[in-house]
Symmetry: C3
Subunit: 399 residues, 3 copies
Amino acid sequence: MNDNLIDIPNYLDHLRRLDQRMFRRDFLLTWHKTDRELEAVITLAEILRALYRSNISCRVFETGLAVSFFRDKSTRTRLAYASACDLIGLTVQEMEEEKSQISHGETVRETANMISFLSEVIGIRDDLFLGRGHRFMSEVADALTGGFEEGVLNHRPAVINLQCDLDHPTQTLSDLFHLRKYFGGLENLRGKKLAMSWAYSPSYGKPLSVPQGIIALMSRYGMEITLAHPPGYELVEDIIKLTGENSERSGGSFSVTDDMKKAFQEADVVYPKSWAPARVAAQRTELAGKNDVQGLKELEKEALAENAKYKNWLCDEKLMKSTRNGEALYLHCLPADVQGLNCAQGEVTMGVFDKYRIETYREARYKAFVIAAMIVLCRFRDPARLIERIFRDRNHRAG
Amino acid sequence: MNDNLIDIPNYLDHLRRLDQRMFRRDFLLTWHKTDRELEAVITLAEILRALYRSNISCRVFETGLAVSFFRDKSTRTRLAYASACDLIGLTVQEMEEEKSQISHGETVRETANMISFLSEVIGIRDDLFLGRGHRFMSEVADALTGGFEEGVLNHRPAVINLQCDLDHPTQTLSDLFHLRKYFGGLENLRGKKLAMSWAYSPSYGKPLSVPQGIIALMSRYGMEITLAHPPGYELVEDIIKLTGENSERSGGSFSVTDDMKKAFQEADVVYPKSWAPARVAAQRTELAGKNDVQGLKELEKEALAENAKYKNWLCDEKLMKSTRNGEALYLHCLPADVQGLNCAQGEVTMGVFDKYRIETYREARYKAFVIAAMIVLCRFRDPARLIERIFRDRNHRAG
Amino acid sequence: MNDNLIDIPNYLDHLRRLDQRMFRRDFLLTWHKTDRELEAVITLAEILRALYRSNISCRVFETGLAVSFFRDKSTRTRLAYASACDLIGLTVQEMEEEKSQISHGETVRETANMISFLSEVIGIRDDLFLGRGHRFMSEVADALTGGFEEGVLNHRPAVINLQCDLDHPTQTLSDLFHLRKYFGGLENLRGKKLAMSWAYSPSYGKPLSVPQGIIALMSRYGMEITLAHPPGYELVEDIIKLTGENSERSGGSFSVTDDMKKAFQEADVVYPKSWAPARVAAQRTELAGKNDVQGLKELEKEALAENAKYKNWLCDEKLMKSTRNGEALYLHCLPADVQGLNCAQGEVTMGVFDKYRIETYREARYKAFVIAAMIVLCRFRDPARLIERIFRDRNHRAG
């Protein structure tokens, strides 16, 4: 894998030609974006990373707030968002439901306006309840459009999806960035076999957004995708349909199986990861809405029992041997449930994880640049010209 | 309402002529400030807002901390403070009682010094207990003066009142800013009729600082103010007295009534809002001091029952019709208790709130600039010259 | 005490001659650093402080994160770290165990890498459990070295010890800075008598890091050190041994006594402060590891009873009279247990504390500059040249 610095002027030329239309818009779902827009994100992320590594300051804001709103625990996305915002000169202001008055009957429209008077971006993680996260982000986005059109807001901040119930675009675009580096270009993904597979975890209820986001995104690049999961662990139907359409258009393929082994057979890339059955996720949303603690407990018990039937859904050495030359690239959004390391039985054996540990760290390191690229594309009319000036000025970031 | 950009050089000239003396001082209560000082805050806030809207960076600090200390929940003031500090280049450091050792027997004097070595401003919200908030802020201010005079502190940070038990100056000055824009100048407030009225809310114990701050401030501009509340909901006596004196001096008028309808009659501006009886607030302070949980519960029950007698204190369409041409401007510091939206019975009907929704959002958007203006006036000897340079240099804030 | 501004060019010359090797390393324990390295920290801290006081911006980073990880409450170190990072242009990102997924089975190695992609420094406080804090920091440091060597990280962030179970270098170097100012130079510490003494506190279980750090550090400068504590309150054996060796090498002396009075006799400097017996600290670590709540309660009860035997270990006027001319300098890391102020019986009487109150505030004010100096030394290959440019450019920090 080559991690040399890229030729920045070349990339800037390329960015200039990608006539994307993201100014004053949001980044909520990859499938709402054109191929050119996604390429603009990846291209600009590459440029920002190269500038950073060359000790050139990427500060495009002298002042400005970046609000964040995490409705779930987060280490790496929180850090990636903080890093991205800091990289371009924005100050993160974390909103917390219990510290704010949001829970006190304020409407989403009001809150969205109140936090946006001097804000450039609102980053939201809301992934716990199926049917809610994306809807909430859309409501915020609509409120901002309203506030801007009504003349309340001086400009239109961008809403960035830091993981919702449907998609996790900052993660999947980092994964795509990683694959692009690993295989030497997006065009080399064509025909590569990807196994997106459920794997056993001792915890139930992990979001569906990563597997959904992965199949919906990678199917645009001509990959041959197999989605594997036990019966009952189906993903959201619309996204399955969308993935099929993407595959057809891109000349790839898409199939679903209940056999992990079959999915791994001759795979170039494997992504074994636990998620909750959509049915369980939906039921949890309903029970949580009614604040039914007893019902939630029973659901957890039942879901864990169901999970336990599939402990053999494990990414181990034997399974990895069946992949292309026994050397498929292992992907994971981290943290993984590593058998013998942080759980008795999990998604992956220690041996397999260790072999790919450094690769998974590399996979993670692109996220901050992806987020920074999204923000710059959503907030500036002519990002290429802006970055060109940054590159020309060559102000030191450190020292 | 005209929201065109102002003529900055004109405003700078005006600011220069207002020989205020706020350098090295605090902003705790509007009634500790001269008319010229208040006008300096509003004038500078206008200038900062115009610079911001013209994409000119208002960064007057390269580095420096802005401590914040919120002893109550807050969304908009927290965001406004964060926005203000970021706008001028300061980094907010939030102090939290449970994370710090403040509760561990440290004195206010010691803490005030310890958090101020490289700090420019200490923003405090302490509004829950009558008789405490302003006293606490004054203690912090005295400690900073001491620390500066003793040579412990390199400079004297400013204490900014982000809402205390007596006043809420960043809110009321934003309200004043809004009225000034709405009526086309402070001088046009003369003779305008303002109804500051209690209104029913399903929650008890809201601070008195907004109604007190509003009558104490607006009475300086020749307004004809009627304060309306049910018997028992009296405000702090000193502030009533002060308001009377202000009205006399400014050529306005001030009266108190227990009839909401009377207050709204031919009003130009109405501000219907719930607050706790001073007696209840004082009792709560006492019970909280003794950590009397049972007593607090009983007080709440009793206060809610008392509140419930006045459910007809509601700002509805009928009442609004009785105002000047049926078109009085509705003010609220937000969030409002909107009947049918976030409560069954509340301060205002959905119809009235909806009609003025955008105006209330506008009212809110000035707060960050008011806070930034306060800080700059308290921290620089010659703010006009400083801002003149900022305006001349025209460094881009974004891009 | 002279607090005039220093001659910056002179100090820069001096810094240049101290060929320290801290670039790409950490600051964990003072005894891992050479005398020249410690002098570099103090010298650079002096320079940064002088620049700050001359309103010259010390911003050496345009962007960059400073992660902080506090596993214990903190007011002054938290503020000092925030101030230090802000002073040089870094943005603090606080990690909290409950908000992050660290507790969810992630390895230290993984977390360390994940939070470091765009970070310059990781500041850690982990002082509660004997045998853990330093070990944890070392693991983080090793993980960062690994990540950098594996090409995962673009650069090697510095780990800064903000208090561990063994040492509290940012505190003790601030204390050293204070002594240096007070006595007019490090060379004047030679032969001065220092009493590091246990004192009674109504709380049990305070860390051992301050007394350990003080004797280990001050013994390098030829001081005559007496460590006093009741039987059972021994410090960690290795550090006692190390202190003896330091004293021998520096031409000072070191003795241990169980008599507070003897330690104070003719002392030039006294540092009366409570700490837990190492045995109790170790037991607490074990019980906490097993989550043995009952055992912890019993240990607390037993330890408080033991403490109570030594209520006469109090720094009072009488004891102070026995020091050199009755005028020994009183040191404390704050907050102190001041008898009659924040406790019924404590470490020091109100009279003594009041006499030295301003001195203790001065002692505290150097910490931010010490931390900033550590970071700059660990993150730049040629700090003297860097600061020379800063001094030459003379960019205003404020205004």
